[in-house]
Amino acid sequence: MEILLFGIAKDIVGRTSMDAMEFNQRPTSVAELKDKLRQAFPEFENLTSLAVAVNSEYAEDSILLKKGDEIAIIPPVSGG
């Protein structure tokens, strides 16, 4: 399960993507993914907000992650 990284998330992890298998247990929900990310990279705690997109849609914490989903970490957006 590939996780795309953008903006400051890319800088914190140091790459443009990572694999969910890199966590000792694969996250099963958006909430779990956020928790694991914050544990592995505490700098995420300092951000204004942290959102996750599943298959290019904003996903609530309760959304379950399925094999083959395209997941992206969405740090605070700043377009315009």
């Binding site: 953008f6 903006g7 204004t48 957006v77 700043s78 377009g79 315009g80």
Partner: protein, 139 residues
């Protein structure tokens, strides 16, 4: 309403938007252009760098255009954002709407840029002479 024009581009041409919004039923055409400002909190900006999650950004821009066309009676909508490195005074975003009378397109235009800034996955890094900062990342 006609299909909205939704794009993410490397170089933004601000001269094309009038033609895109022009419509025989539109007596009003309203456009907002965002550009690179030289100073942020009294610090001189060297350049801005934009990146996007393009697939999702285009999807969110489509949704915003759809919401605007439900709220107001519009004939045409344009939402176009630039990515890459931009210098002071470069245009980075153009949004616009056209409608029979001016009220609808003024209000829609404001909505388009406000919604874009709030939820379209585009990120801006400010490069100063001595450091770089992702805008809005930290409280």
């Amino acid at each position: 309403m006609e299909e909205p024009i939704i794009e993410i581009v490397a170089n933004l041409d601000t001269s094309q938007v009038f033609g895109e919004l022009s419509h025989p039923g539109s007596g009003g055409i309203c456009v907002f252009t965002g550009a690179v400002r030289e100073f942020t909190n009294k610090q001189q900006v060297v350049s801005l760098e934009f990146e996007t999650y393009e697939k999702m950004a285009l999807g969110e821009m489509q949704k915003i255009a759809g919401e605007a066309s439900k709220k107001w009676e519009l004939n045409r909508i344009v939402i176009r954002h630039a990515v890459g490195v931009k210098q002071v005074q470069d245009p980075v975003v153009v949004v616009g709407a056209s409608s029979a009378h001016r009220d609808a397109c003024f209000e829609a235009c404001r909505f388009l840029i406000d919604a874009l800034k709030k939820r379209v996955p585009i990120w801006k890094k400010e490069h100063f002479s001595d450091r770089s900062v992702w805008v809005s990342a930290h409280p």
